[in-house]
Symmetry: C2
Subunit: 199 residues, 2 copies
Amino acid sequence: MPPPRDLSPEKAEQILAGAMREFLENGFAGARIDKIVAAAKVSKATVYRHFPDKVALFNVLIQRMAAKKELFELQNMQSFDEEPAIVLRRHAEKMLDNVATDPQILTFLRIIIGESGRFPLLAQAFIRDVEKPALDGLTRYLTLHPKLKIADPEVTARAFIGTLIHFVLFTYVLHGKDIMPIERDRLLDELLALVIKPK
Amino acid sequence: MPPPRDLSPEKAEQILAGAMREFLENGFAGARIDKIVAAAKVSKATVYRHFPDKVALFNVLIQRMAAKKELFELQNMQSFDEEPAIVLRRHAEKMLDNVATDPQILTFLRIIIGESGRFPLLAQAFIRDVEKPALDGLTRYLTLHPKLKIADPEVTARAFIGTLIHFVLFTYVLHGKDIMPIERDRLLDELLALVIKPK
DNA sequence: GTCTATATCAGGATAGAC
DNA sequence: GTCTATCCTGATATAGAC
């Protein structure tokens, strides 16, 4: 549902921009409207003229972030010319680079998972807009590439992406880097061997 | 070193029991001391006599929950008599059963991940007490079992457990069941084939 | 040592001026 | 339509009785 028409969309954007950092850093319950107001350089009344309440603001913001599909960047695997090992590794590396260099993605993952109990629809928006496209794209690639004979491409895609996401959660989100570090290249080498190598 | 205050450990347990549900359901910022007090059937002053503040109470509770290592139950893989495929499948099934039947584990995962930005030490306690033992146990099993010749057991363990945890997060925590369902048996079949890979 | 009662203050949300 | 100023609920934390 788009914001009401008789209000300036410019201010709405301003509010959403200010709300982003606050919600990402502090979660829903921890976010303070005052901070959002200060960051957006708008008065509190203006916020409540554009959004009925805190919940609605949160919903709009998170759904919009989930709709930015560049998060995992694992689609667009159209070309079948190159070796699958090369293509898969490049995509995995790009995804990990994205995440490792942009702390906002980490906090976004924290929010989506942390609030998935109270905001199930937001969690499902994330599944629909981020995870599903990545899984579908990879499944399609594994199915169609002439050099590959994967028994169950859908499950293989889940294993591939699941291992990567778990690596991200473990290493960066949960700060496992200091406790059980692992070389990224080593993980990718063996993961590719598991997925691609025919039995 | 502060002198030990007089307080009954019995009341402390009572408070922690009451705090569990509230913190799990609402996260740190969303949890209300009043609710904890009501659930524990204790007065508010008693809570503050046993714990300096809300943060300390949260820390004790979550660290204690993480120390319950039965969460993932993937260690104790000592016997090398049976077929690896049988053993691995049984352990994976038990882990998934645990999680699927106990909603508290799902909310615990939400909390640990959701609060990992503000409470990094709790996240690391989870890594140390839950994830690491499971990974180490599986790595050891994959390394020592005479019938297996795994190139990189450590990464293979990460792929196995990572795929399972991602499945749990995707399906149950993020409510992906309704959007992209997948048969548990099918996932396990192919995952085992990928990991064990008979030649 | 635990309770009742309360201090203190911040939060979300609104009324009214312009 | 936006701002200033304010309401009021409800939160954490404490003081003082027993």
